[in-house]
Every structure is written in structure tokens, then in C-alpha cells.
């Protein structure tokens, strides 16, 4: 999937992946896609909840081994 910015949140635990994501989205313009890679298993539900509550669209999420990848489109 195409993306405009990438955030490496590997090794970080709750709530840091969400906080870093929020910060990264602040630097994006509307419609841009942010790719996030995380190793926190809790982030799967957290990013879905974050997207739902903030209106930024979670385009896709994938799991590969112990890494989780998310694509979020800025509102």
C-alpha cells in the first residue's frame, strides 16, 4: 500500500505508539497516509479505537510475526 509517511513504533509500549501516531498525523496534511509499525500486541485494538474516535481512517492493518503494521489516512 502507498503511504506518505512512516512511523517506527517498534519496542514502544502503551500509550506511546498512539501518542507518536497522533504527533505524526499532526505533521500530515488531510488525505495523506501514515504507515505505522509496532510490536505492542495491544496496539491492534488501540489503533482501531484511535481511528474510530478521531475520524482518521484505518485503511488496513496487518500482522507479520511479532510486528503489526497499520495504515491510517488523515481526516
Amino acid at each position: 500500500m502507498d503511504f506518505d509517511k512512516e512511523l517506527d513504533a517498534r519496542g514502544l509500549n502503551c500509550p506511546l505508539p498512539i501518542l507518536r501516531c497522533k504527533k505524526a498525523l499532526n505533521d500530515c496534511t488531510s488525505g495523506q497516509v501514515l504507515k505505522i509499525v509496532s510490536t505492542d500486541p495491544g496496539s491492534v485494538k488501540d489503533f482501531a479505537a484511535f481511528a474510530k474516535q478521531t475520524g482518521n481512517e484505518l485503511l488496513a492493518s496487518a500482522e507479520a510475526g511479532s510486528e503489526y503494521t497499520f495504515f491510517i489516512k488523515k481526516k
Binding site: 514502544l12 502503551c14 500509550p15 506511546l16 497522533k22 510490536t39 484511535f50 478521531t54
Partner: protein, 170 residues
Amino acid sequence: MDDQKKMAIIATKGTLDWAYPPFILASTAAALGYETQIFFTFYGLQMLRKDLSGLKVSPLGNPGMPMKMPFGPKWFRSINWNMPNAIQSLVPGYESVATVLMKQTIKNNGVASIPELRELCQEAEVKFIACQMTVELFGFEHSDFIDGIEYGGAATFFEFAGETDICLYI
């Protein structure tokens, strides 16, 4: 902006472990778009001090706290070193050692430090209010605390708390 969601927290504890819930919830709420305030009262004032090294964790009288080593091979890390309260209370520096070990465990797990989380809250414009009555009760000076906080009382808290969607006592 009346449809803006709001959250208020009363933070009353002054230990390293209990400093986490208010700062984690407040920073996350801010990231989710909530207008957020934390009212720090009694021991919670410790979380607003410039020097946060006084935040410690105590295994004494805390049966829920696992005492595990943050280093060594896996079998060693999984041993639980809980000791009877009577022994803990006799060993000088037990709390300090437990705190050092806890801070290492926190680091090993990629969990943010309290100074880091507090800074993230401030960056996200979480409003910090220190209870003026407790500041005086405990003999603190405003200069003991970080900049950018307000001082107020119960009525100040209710002014905001009365309009919140979520209100927590921690």
C-alpha cells in the same frame, strides 16, 4: 466547541506506580481529542514536582506487586522474590532497591518514564491544577513545582469536572 469531549482526573497518589494511570490516561485522552484536566491533591502533588526522583514504588504491604529481576536469564527473571512484610520493613533501602529494579523493568518493556509522560501531557495541553490547600498543608512552595500549572481548590475542579464526559478518581 461545546461538543468537544472532556475528561477530568483527580490524582491523589504519590508513588511511581500510581503516577502512571493519570498521565497515561490524560495523554491518551488528549491524543483522542479530549480536553483534559488533572487535579493533583494530597500525595498526588508529588507528580508535579520539578524533581521526580522522589517517586518510589513500595512492595511493603503490597501483595499484588510481583518482585522480579529485570536482568539475567529467563528462568531467573521469572522468580518471584516476594518477602514477608516484617522482613521488608527491617531491610534499609528496600524501597530504593525495588524502585531501581522497577525503573529498569519499565525501560526493558518500552514503557515511557514518568517525566516523559508528564512532558507529553504538557505538550498536548493537558491542564494541570495543584490543590492549593494541600500545597500549604504539606509545606510546599510553588517553586517546588514545574511551570505552567495552576493552583486552585475544589470549586475550581468542579467548574471543569461538571461538564466532563469522563471523570476519574485515581
